[in-house]
């Protein structure tokens, strides 16, 4: 009887500790999402978390050193590594991921930034002769965005699993993973666009803040700052949680895709993959070309929805930097 009660108490305590651990992770993650530099740590933490999720999904055992920590390193390492190993690892992985994402997204963010500047500058000055420049740059940017976003979640998962600098740009492997990803990858895109609605609202709703809360007009500057900070905290918490869900999901999709690709026609591409230890011996057929074409077309149109949200959000509440980053394709920052 006493043993049973002790066991129950241990389970309860363990659950409470797990819950507190989750809460700690969430709070720290949310706080780090408040500024661009600290959001790089979140990117690194997420990278580690994705790698772990992918390895577990591939059936590779995860040791205690595999668990992602904000500050401490894994047990059994030297004093300095134990004290700051997690932080160093997050910084390193975060920079790898940030650089990869920045370079991959720059072709469309650069177009968007230029389009907005050139378009409205031209419109303000009534430059009829160059009226096409803004819309041309903007629409080209949307086209590039829709294509890049087909590969970016898989590239991020690949970077996270391989944990090497510039793994982000191993385009053949990433294309292979996308080709073997199936409809789950389409669902991931749909859910990502759906999850981006609250982020869009966080940009758009302040425009109508006085209609929602008339007292805003009479707040002092410091009270407005406090309100801004409260809103930012909620948005940061949402960004962190939604990213954990989406990135873990994308890591699992990646793991499944790589296991298929690594045993099929693309097997040569995947030798020495971080997941190669999990490859089975049975061959998998590469998906039909028609399926891949349909998947490409569907993904393009789904990701265009996120571009629309970004543009409408900018019409409502403009900031230059918002053309360059979004929590779902670069920095996990409240913007």
């Amino acid at each position: 009887m006493n043993d049973t009660m002790e066991q129950t108490a241990r389970v309860r305590t363990s659950r409470i500790l797990v819950f507190l651990g989750i809460m700690r992770t969430w709070i720290v993650g949310a706080l780090l999402c408040l500024t661009p530099p600290t959001s790089i740590l979140v990117l690194g933490w997420l990278s580690g978390d994705m790698g772990r999720a992918a390895r577990r999904n591939a059936g590779l055992t995860a040791g205690s050193g595999d668990r992602r920590r904000w500050l401490f390193g894994p047990p059994g390492t030297g004093l300095v590594s134990r004290a700051f190993g997690g932080l160093a690892s997050n910084i390193r992985a975060g920079f790898h991921m940030a650089i990869g994402m920045f370079v991959m997204t720059l072709p469309f963010t650069g177009f968007w930034l230029s389009a907005w500047w050139a378009g409205w500058e031209n419109s303000f000055n009534k430059g009829y002769e160059q009226a096409f420049v803004g819309p041309f740059l903007g629409l080209t940017g949307v086209g590039i965005f829709a294509i890049v976003m087909i590969y970016l979640p898989m590239a991020a998962a690949h970077q996270a699993v391989e944990n090497r600098a510039f793994a982000f740009f191993e385009l053949k492997r990433i294309r292979s993973a996308v080709a073997h990803s199936g409809w789950r990858y389409v669902m991931l895109a749909v859910v990502t666009v759906f999850f981006s609605l609250p982020i869009f609202a966080s940009r758009g709703l302040p425009t109508f803040a006085e209609s929602i809360y008339p007292g805003l007009a009479f707040l002092t500057a410091s009270e407005v700052n406090d309100l801004r900070m409260t809103i930012d905290l909620f948005v940061a918490a949402y960004i962190f949680v939604s990213l954990v869900i989406l990135r873990r999901w994308s890591a699992r999709i990646y793991a499944k895709a790589v296991l298929r690709a690594g045993t099929g026609r693309d097997m040569n591409l995947w030798t020495n993959s971080a997941l190669s230890a999990a490859f089975g011996s049975t061959g998998t057929r590469r998906p039909w070309r028609v399926f891949r074409f349909v998947q490409f077309a569907v993904l393009t149109s789904i990701w265009s929805g996120l571009a629309v949200l970004i543009f409408v959000g900018q019409f409502l509440n403009h900031s230059w930097h918002v053309w360059l980053t979004h929590p779902y394709f670069l920095l996990p920052w409240v913007m």
Binding site: N125, E210, N317
Partner: protein
């Protein structure tokens, strides 16, 4: 006879019937000329009349000392009221709130038409003034405001309308002439026909008047000077200044409203467009005032009334706090500057004044009553 000529005839007939033959000769107008400047597109006090933050140094340092500054002009908060450009302009012109109705608005195109008489109609009803001396100068970005030249009120309306000067009107003139002249090749003519039809269809009013012969002559001169391609004339709010200067020179308007608008470009987030546009308007006003100061027809007999259509937001939650003007407190806060013949100099009226006071005050300065306006005539502005 085309639709417009027919409609004009019908309109004229209807008004004559209403007047019932009791038309009497109206007196010639001998009062001051009035230039109303809509410092438009929505501006805040901070970037205009506040010496610390102004981007309109001419307004603050040169013109304000010449007249009466009303820094605390306000747009009342009413159900159904909106702090936007068309609404604010009609508040100024009619002296009433919500004196307008929807005239077939589409998405992002708040097309309104006045349901109460405008200052133009009051003025022309009281005095013997031809339509080309009562002018509304409109910009190219807000063609939906082309139709403020007369209201839908039964007693006033089309016979007392003002004339409109704008690129929209010039294009109507130009396309009509190009079709008459028949000098273009077939493809170009077809294109002109389509564009002309589109412009005609843009005006959904049942009675749409042709412009007067004097205005037609004005466009003839404009076309001679700037040509047909639309790439040589000044653009944006500078175009409005140019139209106004040419109008004052050629048409001698006695009542003219200039609807500046470009500060509204900040809607798309470029804060510098807002401040730059304020400076462009400031330069434009400076040119207009210099003209009236030096022209014998206008010198010592002209009053300027400068006032925004609406304010803009002061939203600390946004990176561009004045990007919009969505009925917020600051969007209701405007101002007015009145200066010129017979107006006190260097005076500030700091009490709370309502935007509807502008129309009856202008009417009083010109010697008539805007009897359907709701505002009070401003006291304390005379020299």
């Amino acid at each position: 006879m085309d639709r417009r000529t027919f409609n004009l005839g019908m309109g004229t007939g209807a008004v004559s019937a209403m007047l019932g033959g009791r038309a009497v000769a109206k007196p010639a107008y001998s009062g001051p000329n009035i230039v109303i400047i809509r410092f438009g597109g929505g501006v805040r006090r901070l970037e205009t009349i506040d010496p610390k933050g102004t981007y309109a140094p001419n307004l603050v340092n040169v013109l304000a000392p010449r007249g009466v500054l009303i820094p605390n002009l306000n747009i009342a908060k009413l159900n159904g009221g909106n702090t936007s450009h068309a609404e604010g302009t009609l508040n100024i012109l009619t002296g009433r709130y919500t004196a307008y109705r929807d005239a077939g608005s589409k998405f992002l195109d708040d097309r309104l038409e006045p349901t109460e008489p405008t200052l133009f109609e009051y003025f022309r009803e009281h005095f013997d003034i031809p339509s080309h001396q009562v002018l509304l100068i409109n910009g190219e970005d807000r063609p939906q405001e082309e139709f403020f030249t007369y209201g839908m009120h039964g007693h006033y309306g089309i016979n007392f309308r003002s004339e409109m000067l704008s690129l929209h009107r010039f294009k109507l003139y130009k396309y009509a002439r190009q079709l008459e002249e028949n000098l273009l090749d077939d493809a170009a003519l077809d294109s002109v026909k389509i564009k002309y039809k589109e412009l005609l269809e843009f005006d959904r009013r049942t009675i749409a008047p042709e412009q007067s012969p004097d205005i037609t002559e004005f466009w003839k001169n404009w076309r001679h000077h700037y040509g047909d391609n639309g790439l040589k004339n000044p653009r944006g709010d500078r175009l409005l200044t140019e139209l106004s200067l040419r109008a004052m020179s050629e048409l001698r308007p006695r009542l003219m409203m200039v609807n500046y608008q470009d500060p509204d470009y900040v809607h798309w987030g470029n804060a510098s467009h807002y401040t730059r546009a304020i400076s462009v308007i400031d330069e434009g006003i400076s040119r207009l005032v210099a003209f009236t100061d030096n022209d014998p027809f206008y010198r010592d007999n002209t009053i300027y009334v400068i006032t925004p259509d609406c304010g803009r937001d002061e939203n600390g939650l946004m990176s561009v706090p004045f990007q919009h003007h969505f009925n917020s407190r600051a969007a209701h806060e405007v101002w007015a500057l009145i200066f010129g013949s017979g107006i006190a100099q260097g005076r500030v009226i700091d009490r709370h004044i309502d935007q509807t006071a502008i129309a009856p005050t202008i009417a009083a300065l010109m010697g008539f009553r805007a009897n359907r306006s709701e505002g009070d005539i401003l006291s304390g502005i005379g020299a």
